[in-house]
């Protein structure tokens, strides 16, 4: 295979797996999915090899090239994200399959596979309408996963999530309509030719940006997130927090770079940055005030998303150096947060399972009996707090450097304050867990595989801090520099 065609397998395998799990009886679905995972990796390996060999891969689906057809574009960013998706999903799947849940959640599997298909589609697609379809698939699958428990709380969360997702998608769709009218094409590559100063393009960009911000749960549009992520099954929360919210962010990022070559959008970028700052502080504050473990983690996601949105002020209208640092930092932050948050949710799931209560205050003594889960939580927390040596830290470092290089020192306060705030809530959990108060003896032990899955994710977020160089070099697009030249 020449590589380009292999990209499609990244879509096909999850779809086939989804179909297979739909057809299979409930009890086979989990282990069957685990069996399908190697296939997915098998599909990914040649793609990666081809990419390393020949650079960006492209495959026109159905043999029709853009603008008429849709092409899958495997650039570094996309492949990095695919790898991330695969990694996180594999471990979450392991966790879910090992979970001796008394309640049957076998529908998790087809939904999860659809989710993966949607994610891969979003990472790879170079067509704005195809992205819309992907977003919808992603959104509905995610809503389904949230609703899976069927409890009133889960249903309300799912409903809220669904409404937000629909509204966001619609805004995006309107933007697509305007862009098509302006460019006559749906391919991102063609859209990049548009004049960014055009009113139509600006309105489209604004609509799409706000829609995607809603889907990414940027403060103050985050209202749907805590209940959805906090109330779902641990593996689901992990997938949602780690990957799903990132999808809309990546679309926004790609759009911003494609459409916004002119430096006049600085004000908008600053506004987005302000929202990001708000997210960091508000999310951190709310996380601290939570009494339930998983809600705390969910609010932490709200806060961490804020960091990602600092990308826009740092890359818009700043010099090449600052922009490159911002790009690196944001992507690394995305990766680190994905790994750490997934690990954190899984660990939180294990802890909740161990003590049989969702309350943080009930964690007392768990440190002695489930040290591994607590350790995973702590390690993931290190990355969330942005303390070295972790991916979160390296990312924060890059963002700091970018802020300094572009002279936008107020973002330093955000980065620093956010880090401290996250330390406050992470250590709130650890503090309760370390308490050796009236010891309880009834700790249920989660399966070893579940504990190891959490630990692996957490550790990889740590390792990312020291192994970021290659990854970032891989993901830095050639196009970025061109875009930045224009911007700077």
């Amino acid at each position: 295979m020449s590589g380009g065609e292999a990209l499609s397998w990244l879509l096909v395998v999850p779809l086939l797996a989804a179909i297979a799990t739909l057809l299979a009886p409930g009890r086979w679905r989990g282990w069957g999915s685990l069996a399908a995972l190697p296939l997915l990796w098998l599909a990914f390996t040649p793609v990666l090899a081809a990419f390393l060999h020949q650079g960006t891969l492209t495959t026109p689906l159905g043999g029709w090239s853009p603008p008429l057809g849709i092409a899958l574009i495997g650039d570094g960013l996309a492949l990095g994200l695919v790898g991330l998706t695969l990694g996180v999903f594999s471990l979450c799947a392991l966790f879910a399959a090992a979970d001796p849940d008394p309640e049957d959640h076998s529908h998790l599997w087809p939904l999860a596979w659809f989710l993966i298909a949607a994610l891969n589609g979003i990472w790879l697609s170079g067509d704005v309408f195809n992205l819309y379809v992907g977003l919808e698939l992603l959104g509905l699958a995610a809503v389904g996963l949230v609703a899976l428990k069927g409890s009133a709380e889960a249903l309300a969360a799912a409903m809220r999530y669904l409404l937000a997702a629909l509204l966001g998608s619609l805004a995006y769709l309107i933007g697509v309509a305007l862009l098509y009218a302006a460019a006559g094409s749906l391919a991102l590559a063609d859209l990049a030719q548009l004049d960014g100063g055009d009113t139509t393009v600006r309105v489209a960009l604004a609509l799409m940006a706000v829609g995607l911000m809603l889907k990414t749960a940027l403060f103050p549009l985050h209202g749907w997130l805590p209940a959805a992520h906090g109330g779902a099954l641990p593996a689901v929360s992990a997938l949602l927090s780690a990957l799903v919210v990132k999808a809309s962010f990546i679309i926004l990022l790609r759009l911003w770079l494609a459409l916004d070559a002119d430096p006049l959008a600085v004000v908008a970028a600053q506004a987005i940055g302000l929202l990001g700052a708000g997210a960091v502080f508000w999310g951190g504050w709310m996380a601290w005030r939570q009494a339930r473990l998983k809600y705390l983690v969910a609010y932490s996601t709200v806060a961490q998303i804020g960091y990602l949105f600092l990308f826009f002020p740092l890359i818009t209208g700043t010099g090449t150096d600052a922009a490159r640092l911002a790009w690196d930092g944001t992507l690394l932050m995305l990766f680190a947060h994905a790994l750490a948050k997934a690990g954190m949710f899984l660990a939180a799931g294990n802890l909740v399972r161990a003590v049989g209560s969702a309350q943080i205050a009930d964690l007392a003594g768990v440190g002695r009996f489930r040290p591994l889960s607590l350790l995973s939580f702590g390690i993931a927390g290190v990355s969330i707090m942005g303390l070295p040596p972790s991916g979160g830290f390296t990312a924060k470092w890059l963002l700091l450097q970018s802020a300094l290089a572009s002279g936008q020192w107020p973002w330093l306060i955000v980065l620093m304050g956010g880090g401290l705030l996250s330390a406050v809530y992470v250590f709130k959990v650890l503090r309760h867990a370390f308490v050796e108060g009236p010891t309880r003896d009834t700790f249920r032990s989660p399966p070893t595989a579940a504990e190891l899955a959490a630990l692996t994710l957490a550790l990889s977020s740590l390792v990312l801090g020291v192994a970021a160089h290659g990854l970032l070099a891989l993901m830095r697009p050639d196009a970025l520099s061109a875009v930045l030249e224009g911007a700077g």
Partner: protein
Amino acid sequence: MSRVIVAAIASLIITIALALAVLERPTPTLSLPNLASTAITPGEAGVLHPITAVLLEFRSIDTLLEIAVLLVAVVVALALREAQPDGADRMGLDNPLLHAVVKLLLPLMLLVAAYLLWAGSTRPGGAFQAGAVLAGCGVLLRLAGTSLHGLERPRWLQGGRVLGLLVFVSVGIPPMLAGRAFLDYPADLAGGLILLIEAALTLSIALALLSLFRLAPPQSDSPAFPDRRKRRRA
């Protein structure tokens, strides 16, 4: 009331913005219709109807994912039923007139569906429309309280719902194995394959829509709140 005003202002702003966008829109340089019409030649494309061509050839991946979206909705509905089991489904109006109408209308609708499916490749019509009509049949039957025992079997139902996506994906794979792109059917087989896909899609769309109709909690079942009902064990 102030909410209404705020909302009105907000939507007004968006309307104005959109209006501005419409007014100020630039003239596109590209023209996809032209591209499409040159692409739709008997040798190249499997279908001649441009919309079907766009749906199932040029942008077939959109359609494929869209079917997946539909399927996801069904899966969610299924999952919710499993999490929150329903009682017996005793819906249906015991109305002789309705029965008569159904008996008359049903064959006609089936015929329309078949026609729409068949027409899809050259004229307006296609899998979606046919599937919708077929689903309409199902709804009518359900309203009439007629149960189709053959189709009630979960396994069959599931198979039918999945079939469309399965066929779509399976048809797309062989080209890949042959070193071409996904869904890049060979030109000579394209027409037939697309028809096959459409047929499967029609069935699946119909079943999916019908399932979405039926998987909501039935009217006869008493509400289960508060959420303290014992879950069914797996």
